[in-house]
């Protein structure tokens, strides 16, 4: 790790000030940032240890839809400890429960999770986000077993790493961001973009901005997450999907279906969402809807297996939302 100067604060205002005009980085739980710094992939001149509170709360406004607020410093452990969250936002709870390890859950924050940088092994080896060297895309030519299967025409072939972004987008969450020019609120989905050049970032948040909280409307309906991974103990999802469904009687009146591990941004399966409309969730409909989720898929040389996996994961997330866990062994 290279030497840096250090600032510690619990105040977002001060954090923004401390980031101003320097090559700085916010340090939250440190589980991502410090590893990148040890690998010399990220070498900030100043590290701003931003340590706000860990609070999850649900606010009811008279007449309106209740709102969930999760402050930036909320650890995954604290998120998971919330019984109400587990009941009402199982998609988020499930995704958080599968992230990392007990130690990581105690350290990692929601902001850090959403804003962690890709785990792509070329990026982590210092070949840049797009891993293009001498005109060759290393990920396209090399070992791309964990890489994208959607949006693969461009050079950004890594997958967006955050497990929590997937349910939060499905649940329609927003992020509040404080910058030198004040506060702004964006949809969580807008935190991510597909970089075109190596100098682009995959995150839209500015280098001098700080994420302060996540808010989301209490969902009306059912939501769930399903994740497929190689190891049972800590491991990254190969593919995960979150769904949030509203019902009109037994039929789905609105569906959000978001898939992680398949694209450089959390991938919204729009066609599958449409296909789900007006149908009840059954084994048959889920299977058919999931088939729509892979429309337009373009896998790379070594990740064709992810196509079948994506179908399964979407199907299972839909069924999990209605309590059908057909794949569990009896």
């Amino acid at each position: 790790m290279k030497a840096f100067e250090y600032v510690s604060t619990a105040s977002a205002d001060i954090a923004v000030k401390a980031l101003g005009g320097v090559d700085g980085a916010i340090l939250a739980g440190g589980t991502d940032l410090l590893s990148r710094m040890k690998d010399y992939v990220t070498t900030p001149k100043r590290v701003v240890d931003f340590n706000p509170q860990s609070v999850v709360q649900k606010e009811t406004s008279p007449g309106g839809v209740p709102t969930w607020t999760i402050l930036a410093g909320t650890t995954l452990a604290d998120l998971l400890a919330s019984k109400a969250l587990r009941e009402e936002l199982p998609a988020l709870w499930q995704a958080a429960s599968e992230v990392g390890t007990p130690q990581i859950k105690n350290m990692a924050t929601i902001a850090g999770n959403l804003l962690q940088r890709p785990r792509c092994w070329y990026y982590r080896s210092g070949f840049g986000l797009l891993s293009v060297k001498d005109g060759k895309n290393l990920l396209r030519e090399g070992d791309n077993r964990y890489a994208s299967i959607f949006h693969t025409d461009g050079d950004a072939l890594f997958v967006a790493p955050s497990s929590l972004a997937v349910p939060l987008i499905a649940l329609g969450a927003s992020a509040t961001i404080l910058g030198p020019k004040g506060e702004r609120t964006v949809m969580v989905s807008s935190l991510y973009q597909i970089p075109k050049r190596d100098s682009d970032r995959e995150l839209t948040i500015g280098a001098d901005e700080v994420l302060t909280k996540i808010t989301l409307p209490a969902p009306q309906g059912k939501n769930a997450t399903y994740e497929a991974r190689q190891k049972q103990s800590h491991d990254w999802p190969l593919v995960l999907a979150s769904v949030s469904l509203r019902f009109d009687g037994a039929s789905v009146s609105q569906a959000s279906i978001v898939i992680g591990g398949v694209a450089p941004i959390p991938y919204r399966a729009v066609e599958a969402e449409k296909a789900m409309f007006g149908k009840p969730v059954t084994l048959e409909t889920a299977e058919a809807v999931a088939a729509n989720a892979i429309n337009g898929v373009k896998p790379l040389s070594g990740n064709v297996y992810k196509v079948a996996l994506t179908k399964t994961v979407v199907k299972r997330a839909l069924l999990a939302a209605v309590g059908n866990r057909y794949w569990e062994e009896v």
């Binding site: 092994w121 070992d143 190689q230 190891k231 297996y305 057909y326 794949w327």
Partner: protein
């Protein structure tokens, strides 16, 4: 007269907790990497970022000027013009006041590279026109063919009427040792010509010799301590370039101690690995299931110079066979011995082919295996000729294992394991190993007038419980408790002890330990007999008492007090009759898995491991080793894989995250049983560190194929490999 182990042992073969357990479990044990002698500097290595490069120039001066830096040097024979043959190849080293300063200084060293074309995968290495890793006799296109071994006429036998055969490819990747404590040592150069080191090594004696050799000083001037160490698995047998470099840095820094341990990436890159195995196999049998022929063309890579051979045919009797093995060289770190070198690969290839052929023949693969056992053990342990007929042993062991896994009730032919998303499957595999140990070691036993007993030898504990083994043997002979004995090991100046490799430590060290305890006991008898008005031969020891003709007469401590000022000090040697007269052990393993055919995720549900290893000294640490071997094999079967990038030539997962290793939630129910008949015990002590890791990955692969109805030819059994195999079956159908 050949010695014999006690016929009715009180301690040997029982479950005894390890003596150094608590000091380890409380974090108080000081590992070589924990040492911090006064004035210590921190060392760090600069290693090649490129797979293949020539050093154009190298400038240490900027590093020398960095704050806190006390010594900087080029490593080994590196100089401008030198070729680096793999990412991780060593270049230079630094010692500084703090570790952070040492890293900064490493970054400050200026090296100009001429990057050369590389090959890092087997396919790349053998492609026409591939860059050459190095030139050598017999190496063509990065390949060196071993002499092919032929028995009988395999082609003719395979083509004979009525012979059923399969033709298949199997592949197991390179994996690395991932010792938790990295390679390295803490070392102090003392005066002009002495060295003291705390090394993470499997061989204190070899390490001392390496250091002495590097400086041209007598080995007696070098002391290597290894009180405890954090895992080696075959990769830690000497001082290595890193240890020698650290000693040079210490010397340069005026004798200040230097701590030098590799970082995790360097550990993956340069500290050893198990070679890959690629096999093209034809195996044929008569319709009634007797093997007739094996034709195998195999290859593998052990890196930029090491070989990759493995035993094949394995375990089974094949009357006609031909085998050609080709070593493929790549720009990758060199292989080192890794837990049963060669055998896991041989086992995967042979046992996969056995299963595939049994399936084609429509025979229960268990029955098929039993029909084809060899009459004589093929494994020679290097110390003695095996003379054991393994067939009846395998028959018993397989019967035990089949019973414990429920083979009869649960096994179904391939593809007949249900139609839901989750398929269950059973698989099995047999294995063998040498074991045994040479008779060249010594153990000193001291009985002091205060009654304390010390056992001492220059061997070391790599997690196998060596201290405890000495104490059990001494306590058995002296009629004491295990905790009454002090075992001092892990010091190169002690009487010569066995390097911990090849499962030889316990078999090599138990006989001299037994001999030492007996010699010491007999000397004590001579000393105390007159006072008891008895003849030495009338004396025995039991329950902390000296007995005369079986009657307890004198408590141990009182007897020892009679020694006056003089301790008894004897040195035991290996004596015949105790161990490894008939090396060669074996066993079998069974795996039950569930495979989710929609996700390709494999979960191992249960593993049964049956193992013979002669006489067992400590049942508890023995079992732990078998569990450990099985879990190592489970990692090989499910998770491990070194991933290389062909374009830039680097390892993509030199970590413990994408280099996947099992955690607690990945561990199935594991049932371990010793095959421990009186005949087995009579064979004496034979080691167990390696054999139980051999067949696990093979058994898991076979269970997966049994579950899903198609062979997954590539290890590990990852979702990708499983789904790819399922897709290729659909493609064919």
């Amino acid at each position: 007269m050949p010695s014999v182990w006690p016929e009715n042992p009180r301690l040997i073969g029982t479950r005894i907790t390890r003596l150094d357990g608590l000091v380890k479990a409380t974090g108080k044990a000081k590992y070589p990497s924990d040492m911090h002698p006064e004035g210590m500097l921190f060392g760090a290595m600069l290693y090649s970022p490129h797979a293949h490069a020539k050093i154009k120039s190298i400038d240490l001066a900027p590093a020398e000027r960095m704050p806190g830096v006390k010594a900087v040097m080029i490593v080994g024979a590196i100089k401008p013009g030198s070729t680096l043959r793999f990412q991780g190849d060593d270049i230079a080293a630094v010692a500084a006041e703090t570790e952070e300063q040492a890293w900064d200084a490493v970054l400050a060293i200026k090296v100009e590279y001429e990057v050369l074309p590389h090959v890092v995968t087997e396919a790349q290495a053998v492609a026409p026109g591939a860059a050459s890793v190095f030139k050598g006799t017999g190496i063509v296109n990065n390949q060196k063919k071993a002499r092919s071994q032929t028995n009988g006429d395999p082609e003719k036998a395979l083509g004979a009427p009525g012979v059923v055969s399969i033709e298949a490819n199997y592949m197991a990747p390179v994996i690395t040792h991932v010792c938790l404590e990295p390679h390295g040592l803490t070392v102090r150069f003392v005066g002009e010509d002495k060295i003291e080191a705390w090394a993470s090594t499997q061989a204190v004696g070899v390490t001392a010799g390496d250091l002495a050799g590097a400086f041209g000083i007598p080995t007696t001037n070098v002391t290597v301590h290894t009180e405890v160490m954090g895992g080696g698995f075959g990769s830690k047998f000497g001082a290595d370039i890193w240890g020698i470099t650290a000693a040079h840095l210490s010397k340069k820094a005026g004798g200040r101690p230097v701590k030098m341990f590799l970082d995790r990436a360097h550990e993956h890159l340069g500290a050893g690995n198990r070679p890959s195995a690629i096999a093209h196999v034809k195996l044929g049998a008569s319709k009634d299931g007797k093997l007739v022929s094996l034709i195998a063309e195999t290859s593998g890579t052990g890196g930029a110079g090491s070989g990759s051979n493995f035993p094949l045919p394995y375990v089974y009797a094949v009357p006609n066979s031909s085998r050609t093995h080709t070593d493929i060289f790549v720009n990758g770190g060199n292989a080192r011995a890794m837990r049963a070198p060669g055998h896991p690969q041989g086992c995967i290839v042979m046992e996969a082919a056995m299963d595939d052929l049994a399936d084609k023949l429509g025979i229960d693969p268990l029955e098929f295996r039993l029909k084809n056992l060899k009459e004589r053990d093929m494994v020679e342990d290097g110390f003695s000729k095996p003379t054991v007929d393994r067939t009846p042993m395998y028959l018993d062991e397989v019967a035990m294992g089949a019973d414990l896994i429920g083979w009869k009730a649960k096994w179904k032919p391939r593809g007949k394991n249900g139609d839901g998303p989750i398929r269950r499957g059973l698989g099995m595999a047999l294995h063998q190993w040498g074991g045994g140990g040479p008779a060249t070691n010594q153990v000193a036993c001291t009985i002091n007038p205060d009654g304390s007993v010390e056992m001492k030898s220059a061997t070391q504990d790599i997690g196998t419980g060596a201290r405890t083994i000495f104490a059990i043997i001494a306590a058995e002979v002296l009629g004491l408790n295990v905790t009454d004995i002090t075992s001092n090991i892990g010091n190169s100046t002690f009487p010569p002890g066995q390097p911990s490799g090849g499962s030889t430590t316990t078999p090599a060290m138990s006989p001299p330990a037994f001999n030492a305890a007996i010699l010491a006991r007999d000397e004590l008898f001579v000393k105390v007999a007159p006072g008891l008005n008895a003849k030495p031969e009338d004396l025995t020891l039991a329950d902390g008492q000296v007995c005369v003709k079986g009657e307890p007469k004198l408590p141990w401590k009182d007897a020892c007090r009679k020694l006056g000022q003089q301790s008894i000090q004897v040195t035991g040697k290996s004596s015949p009759g105790l161990a490894s007269q008939h090396g060669g052990v074996g066993g079998c393993q069974f795996a039950e898995v569930s495979v989710d055919i929609e996700t390709g995720v494999v979960r191992v549900k249960k593993i049964v491991a049956i193992q013979d290893t002669g006489l067992i000294i400590d049942k508890m640490t023995w079992e732990t080793q078998v569990y450990g071997g099985v879990i190592g094999g489970l990692n090989y079967g499910l998770f491990e894989e070194r991933v290389m990038d062909p374009t830039v030539g680097i390892m993509l997962n030199p970590d413990m995250e994408l280099y996947k290793l099992a955690g607690a939630s990945d561990i199935p129910e594991i049932v371990v049983r010793a095959y421990e008949t009186p005949a087995m015990k009579a064979r004496g002590v034979i080691g167990v560190g390696e054999p139980p890791t051999v067949s696990t990955a093979a058994a898991i692969g076979n269970a997966v194929s049994n579950a899903i109805g198609v062979r997954v030819p590539h290890w590990p059994m990852s979702p990708k490999n499983v789904l790819d195999a399922l897709a290729s079956k659909e493609g064919k159908a």
